[in-house]
Amino acid sequence: MHMSDALLSPAVGGAFWAGALGVIAYCARKLKQKIDEKIIPLMGVLGAFIFAAQMINFTIPGTGSSGHLGGGMILAVILGPYAAFIVMASVLSIQALFFADGGLLALGCNIWNLGIYPCFIVFPLIYNTLVQAGSSPKRIVVVSMISGVAALQLGAFSVVIETLLSGRSELPFGTFIYMMLPIHLAIGLMEGFITAGVINFVRSARPEILESVSVSKDLSPGISLKNVLAGFLILSVVTGGALSWFASSNPDGLEWAIEKVFGTSELSEHEKGIAPALKHVQNKTSFLPNYSFKHGDDASEKEKSKEAWPNIAIGTSVSGIAGAIMVAGLILLCGLGIKFVKIKRD
């Protein structure tokens, strides 16, 4: 489920980072406005809780495989959207750095996919409107499962969109969707079920804990319609330019898939297509504004020369490979050299 650096282009990665950082800053401001000091240690420890909980596996009924808790939904239910989003972003940061889940550039996408949807779309629109303080455990189970499915489907859909916009993978839209969504339907159902299970368990065993927690939840009372609309606005700005491009030049996912199968790759244009829409954001976030966009031109040159490739003298590609092997060898030698010097010095 984690998006990966290797599948991203700088434009897409940068845009989602900008989005994620923007929301983190927004949440930080919201929390500061009505801070209840008590929530600070609670947020920190709950982040660690999500990790600890992820280390325990359960056996998925009917199959031999095992699953674990994702965490976004349960955090949103317990802490409210603002605090939950910050906690989720911190959990994902640690996953990116310590467990190598995704990488640094993809972290923006992952925070977006696994944080925004459960905290700012699913929780206020589905969970919070359908579950009240006195709702029955059964109702919590049903609503949680719907929420879990919705959050994970949105997240999985985002992974597909991000991958396609980046143009590193050849997977056609339709095929990718068919592979991602059903898997995440199952994962979403489990996530919802576990979330509800834990909430109901705690509610029956120690109801006062949830109550004491929900005191601090009051600092972010139910999201107003205005905020939800603002969220959708950010969402549409980030994906809008890109999606409209899809709509115009690829009227049908299937047609696109067929086109791809028959090998007429339009990916260089694809890069150019999203570039203008994202350029503004990119310029703001990129460390070398004009630099990373060069690859758009590079790609088209490459694309043009692609037809010519088979006719090009063998020499060129051989020298490329030979050179690559030599460079790799040199680098390895450098590494071993440093190591050797170090050992000697000791």
Binding site: M1, S4, A6, L7, S9, P10, G13, I24, A25, C27, A28, E37, I40, G44, V45, G47, A48, F51, A52, A53, I56, N57, F58, T59, P61, I94, A96, L97, F98, A100, L104, R168, S169, E170, L171, I194, V198, F201, V202, A205, S265, L267, S286, L288, S292, A299, K306, W309, P310, T316, S319, G320, A322, G323, A324, M326, V327, I331, G335, I338
Partner: protein, 266 residues
Amino acid sequence: MLNFDKEYFNIGYLDTLAYKNTFVHRLDPRVKLVTTIVFVFMVVSFPKYELSKLIPFFIFPVFMSAAGEIPARFILKKLLFVSPFVFFVAIFNPVFDTAAMYNLYGIKFSGGWVSCISIMIRFTLTISSALLLVATTSFPGVCRALERLYVPKVFVVQLFFLYRYLFVLAEETMRIVRAINMRTFGRKKYGLKIFISTIGLLFMKTVERSERIYHSMCSRGFNGEIRLLKMDKTGFADIVFAVTAIALFIIFRRYDIARILGELAL
């Protein structure tokens, strides 16, 4: 139920690596963070059929692991462990992109294979550099860098807290799991019911702990304002490191060093 011990000691191991004292470890965390981010941007900015220009970039992770005395085997193991998703996506490139691209002594390589290999190289470069960043900087170091790069304080404090209590809660979890194991006669598979009540129990313990932490913070004068200790300084060595690294990245990005070298050699 337990792939647990392994994961736990894995984080612990990365953490101990960060407390070595080498040139790389002594660099200002901000410098390492920024350099790594530039590195990742450079690597992913190549068009999708790029292979040879990517190879020189290996110098960065190799340097970091050699100079930082980080065992390469440990990093490679971690890479292998998380590679399935990327591999699963990349392996479809040869299926969908079959136009011949290279012709080596009669053996044709399709564009799909080239872009697939390119994705796997990018994966190796970007993920290993992220792992090496923590292994040579320590997580608190990364957090301090973030704070000084104007990331919101609430988020930075959240990261500090999470990291601090990660180990504490992992031990708590270990105790719970051990208790379950002792009462279930070593059964290996657990159903949802036991799983949910385990997580529920862990949750209750977590909340209780957070209350104790809050009280102890209050008794030490916490009043809602979060204060962080600042101590990193950017020195001459840091500037040299950053400038050299970024200059190298730019050269590698612009010129196809591998091809030039190959042409010279042949």
